[in-house]
Symmetry: C2
Subunit: 355 residues, 2 copies
Amino acid sequence: MGADERVTERSQPARAYDRAVPQDRQVTIITVAERAGVSKTTASDALRGSGRVSEETRRLVVGVAEELGYVPNDSARHLRRARTGAIGLHLPEVLPRSDYYMSFVFGAVQAAADHGYDVTLLTSGTGVAPSRSPRVDGLVLGDPLADDPVVDKLMGSALPTVTCERYSGPGEPDGVVWSDHGAALQTLLGHLSDAGARRPALIVPGDESDWAASVHRAYREWCGQRGVALITRSVPFDANADATSAAARSLLTDEPQLDALVAAPTSAAATLLPVIREAGRRVGEDLLLASCVDAPALRFADPAITAIDVRPREAGAACAELLFELLTGSAVPGVERIHPIELNVRESTQRRRAA
Amino acid sequence: MGADERVTERSQPARAYDRAVPQDRQVTIITVAERAGVSKTTASDALRGSGRVSEETRRLVVGVAEELGYVPNDSARHLRRARTGAIGLHLPEVLPRSDYYMSFVFGAVQAAADHGYDVTLLTSGTGVAPSRSPRVDGLVLGDPLADDPVVDKLMGSALPTVTCERYSGPGEPDGVVWSDHGAALQTLLGHLSDAGARRPALIVPGDESDWAASVHRAYREWCGQRGVALITRSVPFDANADATSAAARSLLTDEPQLDALVAAPTSAAATLLPVIREAGRRVGEDLLLASCVDAPALRFADPAITAIDVRPREAGAACAELLFELLTGSAVPGVERIHPIELNVRESTQRRRAA
DNA sequence: GCATTTACCTAAAACGTTTAGGCAAATTAG
DNA sequence: CTAATTTGCCTAAACGTTTTAGGTAAATGC
């Protein structure tokens, strides 16, 4: 810390913030009440539309509040109401998926803001220590991994919880938002089949995430039904380009009859292009290529890569929405909601003739 | 919303959370005090190490608190102390940079957690409406863009603020964490020059971010000093692979004597490989390629691409740290801190002989 | 032996809300 | 015209902390 530090001259004299004296006395509901000549109860009622207040006084109070720039103190409000006004969001810290998670986060933040809620990020070490009270009213868990101890603890808390994708560990969330990745994969496999693929292979993470498990299961089912051989390679959930490439290389070497490749990990497909070229195969000619999770890198790859659009921003928003409905009682615990996803067909699976 | 919804049977009867009756009376500091046979002042002092309490009573109180599973109510604490216990974090919602921002966020969250603080995400529309009190004690602004209205508002708030990279809009942050991207670029240019490059080109965003402005300035200076021709293309700050590729294509077509290409936008370099190949050039042979911001995609590209490691996780942590020092008064407003970055040299800039 | 310090502890007052309950005046019902 | 209700407002009591201002013994200084 502070290896290289400098201080610039400032127009204002430096002042420490912790002892900063409020320049003007904070304007509270009492200030408003006094100025409007009513009691604080009436002021509170007038501002929040509760209780019984004549339209005339209500307008007066609102006017004064506006003029004074009154903003209610959340700590006081939350203390009184036993609420925190924030929801907690947990995501696995998996960098190769940051495209997906970043969109997810912004979706959740957006939805929360619409309801006047804040979003607090939880990672290992935050808000889970028993010595700290969870400063949130509910939890959203994105891609809860079965073997993540933090997820475990969070699921064990008494807070209302919504997961994105099912949780296969102990405990049940109060709400689940999930997408039918299995069906989507089967649609994709059908599409590959229509394009002439007979031997599709799958690169997929292990079953610690419900998403990967569904994809894997759907692949086995689809192949089983048509008597097609299973050709898969397993990679870690947080597989980087290196691991995925290695899996692809192994597939291309060991399975020469391979004619389609589906990579599950986010945007992995794009990093596979060089590997495929190296192996002497041509995407869109003698090898079809697709991904289970769409990403910008896939849309702009050359050739553009077919992928399933899992609409992460909307998923994040849907999770937050569901949590709010649980909090207000307009949804009952145990609810599941399906988040629609769709296949984006691109060049990489349109079979062209070899040039 | 709720297009497809189902409710699963649950072992527990459904209960709405908003009216949930606390099963056991919340254990407060009063409970602890009573059980320990002391006043709540003493209990508070014993638990927080303030005031004068005999070691004996302190141990007693701590024991009781632990046994009862007491966790202090943050709303009450914050109300009393006029603090919120959270810091706000604003980032531009720029998807092509999600690798960088995700690391940045986790770094900040980690540092905040170490200090017992939460991190609340701010986006356009959150916490900025005048009708809402900012529920944070301070702000961290990552890559504040000069033309972002939300950043503008946040800078205008009275809260202590730290930016990552300088802010060129109105108002001064209380602290700045910045990296010497200019010097790093010049190191990179020197390295390219050593490897034989005579005509390095630069793809860089406009000057709305201080980062891009520094990079651009350093390039002009370096070229100016050596009498090397300026060859640049400008792209948007949130340039996706498409825009960057177009810029690269234009460079490769219009500037045939080009022998090195530096792409500023995060991981853009990786998506340039196909474009370069298409243009009939070979990376590492007749064209060197490098990026101003490292990313996983660059390390695993083929060939691996030289890049400047800006260490985003550490940068996020450093910003949060500095903010806490400002909050406690151990740093004075106006402070600047340099965050070290370094060049990762990889294959793409090691000139090989044409095969 | 009296005044003073020290060590430990307590009572009470904030902090800014919301809410339960109450009391007049105004309105309606009978 | 009286009784019951409704309306409009207010008082007071929470919510769970931290902090301020003591208060009582024992220990110390002179």
